[in-house]
Amino acid sequence: MTALPQNTPKKLGLVIDLDTCVGCHACAVNCKEWNAGGHMAPLTDLDPYGKEPDGVWFNRIHSYEVTDSEGRSQTVNFPRSCLHCEDAACVTVCPTGASYKREEDGIVLVNEDKCIGCKLCSWACPYGAREFDTDQGVMKKCTLCVDRIYNENLPEQERLPACVMTCPTSARHFGDLGDPESDVSKLVAERGGVNLMEELNYKPTNKYLPPRPRRRDMKSSPAEGFLEPVVSTSENPVLYWIDRVLSR
């Protein structure tokens, strides 16, 4: 059924820290590596070594420049993947029942055997989480590594989504966002985690932690002083003389 479950007591999801993400794309690569053989396999690549490579990825790592009202700018790396929304329109629009949200943990999945490839779910997703596999003729999406997190053949510490496992700066956290006492829920509360495109009211499970405020006590940029004498006479006569000579 493509009707959404009334309530999922467990809300498994990711918390992504935009403060520590360095934009290395390791999550995207490890996700691709695992999922190319996982639940949604294959993740087809078309023309992979040619001029117009195109393939299915569950993670896309954007980079943005954010400029505040005083003109100070900073780079924010931004990994984008399925947010496993509570009000997942991608599920309700599905005409075949291939898309579904699991009652037991809130994970949104696609049953590839039922998918007719109408692409309507990808239109219904504001976050671009779903990518169509033109070779297989079905829609693909992040599974939250459903085949890792419950996989008893893996050592317990590896029962995490591939993107979380591989992140070198621990910018990605996995847990139950339905439990206010979980580590991820505490992290969201502590750091003021936010929903993406709140105005559309999809109630995403995944949260993003905004970058911490930058230091504001820095003196003016060193570049501005380049053409002025660097040292005054009273501070150090020798350096003052060198500065004078070099400034000629």
């Binding site: 005409p95 936010v194 993406l196 495109m197 993003y208 905004p210």
Partner: protein, 311 residues
């Protein structure tokens, strides 16, 4: 949004077909055309051919057309599924009507009630099509109050332009049909103008800042793209049409889709044999205009995912 030809053909052809069948149904309900069995049958046949062509074409854009039957299962939540169910259900009164008209002795069903069922199901199918777009919140140009009236009126209008031509070709003058065609052309024209006015003035509450959750930090600009060539998202959702072309196509849509058919249907009943040529020209003109209108409906619609890409 990428204007897929199969979906444009589906919404325009099946729209006209359902519009035509809705009008036929309404006429039968009113008891008009009672003596005109050939006219009724040919109208029904044209309607069914258009609807079937559209439905078949819509399966061409599927990744797995052989699984299309599965789309009838999720009518409780999905407008696409409801559309499929209603589209197939419409064949029942249409088929029974055809049999009743062909073999009145063998299938003595009440044409009046079949007409009502045909009209109701035809309109419901077009409504479901419109609701597919109306309910997609990520596309502001679709999820607004103008989408459903535009789809409904344009479907019945194109049906009326066709019916006008069929009636004129049969050498008949049925005042109500000609009158309805004129009115629908004018209503359709006004609705489409309102729709474009709305989408031109609409401002999207979603911005790159809300998309990234960085609203409190300042202005958000794309620094680097996540990939070096277009992916599925950009090919499917990142389609954009040049303003210059959009303006020209809007003019073509308004003139060919509404004004010329209006003129043709106004003059065709009074011009005897030349009226047939004129009415058919009206159909051709409406086809061109409504195809342009539907192409723009997709091509001009922006999906919010493009905000992540700074487009």
């Amino acid at each position: 949004m990428h204007p897929a030809f199969s979906v444009i053909l589906f919404t325009t052809a099946s729209g006209a077909g359902y519009g035509l069948m809705a009008l036929l149904g309404a006429l039968l309900w009113r008891g008009d055309l009672a003596a005109e069995t050939t006219l009724q049958l040919s109208t029904l046949l044209i309607g069914l051919v258009l609807v079937t062509t559209g439905l078949l074409s819509s399966t061409f854009h599927l990744g797995h057309p052989e699984r299309a039957w599965r789309a009838f299962s999720q009518w409780r939540s999905s407008w696409l599924s409801r559309e499929g169910v209603l589209a197939v259900a419409t064949y029942i009164p249409a088929g029974l009507l055809g049999l009743t008209l062909l073999f009145p002795e063998m299938v003595p069903l009440n044409v009046k009630w079949l007409g009502l069922a045909l009209a109701a199901l035809s309109l419901c199918t077009v409504f479901a099509t419109a609701m597919i777009y109306r309910s997609l919140a990520p596309v502001r140009a679709w999820s607004n109050q103008w989408t459903v009236p535009c789809y409904l009126v344009l479907a019945v209008m194109t049906g009326a332009i066709l019916l006008n031509a069929i009636v004129v070709s049969a050498g008949l003058i049925i005042e109500d049909i000609h009158l309805v065609t004129w009115i629908l052309c004018l209503v359709g024209y006004s609705l489409k103008k309102c729709y474009w006015r709305f989408v031109d003035l609409d401002s999207n509450p979603s911005t790159p800042a809300t998309a990234t959750g960085l609203n409190h930090m300042g202005e958000v600009r794309v620094f680097e793209a996540p990939h070096s060539s277009d992916n599925y998202l950009l090919k499917e959702m990142g389609f954009s049409v040049g303003r210059k072309h959009a303006d020209k196509l809007r003019k073509i849509a308004l003139i060919c889709g509404f004004l010329l058919p209006f003129g043709a249907s106004l003059l065709s009943p009074v011009l005897l044999s030349f009226g047939v040529v004129l009415a058919l020209a009206g159909v051709l003109s409406a086809t061109i205009g409504i195809l342009a209108e539907r192409w723009l409906f997709f091509a001009e619609a922006r999906h919010v995912v493009t905000l992540y890409y700074g487009r």
